[in-house]
Amino acid sequence: MIEVRDLSVRYGPALVLDGVSFSVAEGESFALVGESGSGKSTILKALAGQVADWSGRMALSGQDVGRQSRRDLAALMQMVFQDPYGSLHPRRTVDDALAEPLAIHGIGDRDARVLAMLDAVGLARRFRFRLPHQLSGGQRQRVAIARALMLSPRVLLLDEPTSALDVSVQAEILNLLKRLRAEKGLTFLLVTHDLTVVSFLCDRLGVLRAGRLEEISDVALLRAGRLQSAYGRELVARSHGGRPTEAPARP
């Protein structure tokens, strides 16, 4: 579904991505992990057409990125950002945010589609005409996910979709993403620094460091603590470092 070959990106003299290659199958959930500055978000930006100076090959659903019109790209792939407060227009209601992609793409029956989507993301219909500041962080992220799904895309790019949320709200949004993926057969490309989120939501992961892919592994290896690269294992060790010495309770 997503094919990236030898992708390099420069910001001025700085080489941000250095020959990155990976592919994501249809319906698969793939994670890109690494520290800030490793280039993981840049890959999403490049796929979304927001990076000017890149070389290599990127294809979505068999078609080269850059050849498609922005309109076709939007229908095929959508993005969900970290901070739903920053990504929603502060003076547009939930209804505006959800109906706008439909209007742009000339899709009718907007009323019914907006209501159906509110139901799908678990947002009560009474929130339809609220503004972003009248919603909680979790509700806002549900709106952002709903907006991304309005055009029934096949690919979702998820940039740290839960790291701005409280722990218990994170669980709700992760469950929602997992359910939507199963229901709609979506392909996920997720960027995160949180390896436990990868373990819950993804099938494979790529470990990025300073613009290079250190390894691509099955999530089973992550769960077993057996990533191949030294750097991957270091990331795992560091995540454990942030945890209590004794394992948390099993419910």
Partner: protein, 278 residues
């Protein structure tokens, strides 16, 4: 030895529709020269608790407590001048994002020295020496160079170390850190916590670490207070977090994904039931 003793602390704000809403609803605890963690989610009242202890709740917000004693000083009824003498010198606070807590048009070194100028009588030369010494204590390799930098010229992790330097330069008895690492990259979080921990231990300070991150608090504190809806619902030794009994604490722990995650779905908190129980 008890450093801070709080009984029935309440913080309230006026409601636009009249009446007042209580965001901290009667919490009681003691803090010695130890590391106390306060965990809770947005709106639990954890940050308001920290701010109330620093005298930072401005009207129309209101703070009331049956007792609030800090190291021999009665904090209830302290005058603004009394608070100023205390803050920065005997208790200080590290906030979430150094980008917003540092003065953008003042050199880093001068900002750190400001507290010294306010609270201690030192010559400019001695002040500078103390600042450099403190920068070194927060593991900044080249204090002379960093002294002259402006906040926009330093990274988030270094900014937070500068904040910590500013807060500990007068060796306060109590350090309150409110989400000190949430704005930082994972790779430097550990380091910042380590520096703070080291200072707290070596100087025998009391630390109050306020965070939403259960695991982090469990790792860096001795004791944990879990807050929900303005109240402390559970107090537990950090090493025994897995023995937590309150449904909220247990719910939080269960809702965290794990590295070896195999659950098809994460358990979600039943807020309505918790609110009824609280």
């Amino acid at each position: 030895m008890t450093l801070l003793s709080v009984r029935d602390l309440r913080v309230s704000f006026p409601r636009p529709t009249g009446g007042r809403v209580e965001v901290v609803r009667g919490i009681t605890f003691d803090l010695g020269r130890e590391r106390l963690g306060i965990v809770g989610e947005s709106g639990s009242g954890k940050s308001m608790t920290g701010r109330a202890l620093m005298g930072l709740i401005a009207p129309p917000g209101r703070v009331a407590a049956a007792r609030m004693d800090f190291d021999g000083t009665d904090l209830t009824g302290l005058t603004p001048a009394g608070w100023r003498a205390l803050r920065g010198a005997r208790m200080s606070m590290v906030l979430q994002d150094p980008k917003f807590s540092l003065n953008p048009v003042m050199r880093v070194g001068d900002q750190i020295g400001e507290a010294l100028a306010f609270h201690a009588r030192l010559s400019a030369r001695n002040r500078r020496a103390r600042v450099l010494e403190t920068l070194a204590a927060v593991r900044i390799d080249d204090p002379e160079r960093v002294y002259r930098l402006y906040p926009h010229e330093i990274s988030g992790g270094m900014g937070q170390r500068v904040m910590i330097a500013m807060m500990v330069i007068l060796e306060p008895a109590l350090l309150i850190a409110d989400e000190p690492t949430s704005a930082l990259d994972v790779s430097v979080r550990e380091q910042v916590l380590e520096i703070m921990d080291d200072l707290v231990r070596r100087r025998g300070m009391g630390l109050m670490l306020i965070s939403h991150d259960l695991n982090m608090v469990a790792r860096w504190c001795d004791r944990i207070l879990v807050m929900f809806d303005g109240r402390v619902v559970e107090e537990i030794a950090a090493g025994r977090l897995h023995d937590a009994t309150h449904p909220y604490t247990r719910g939080l722990i269960a809702s965290l994904p794990r590295m070896d995650e195999t659950r098809a779905e994460l358990p979600v908190l039943d807020r309505a039931a918790l609110a009824r129980g609280a």
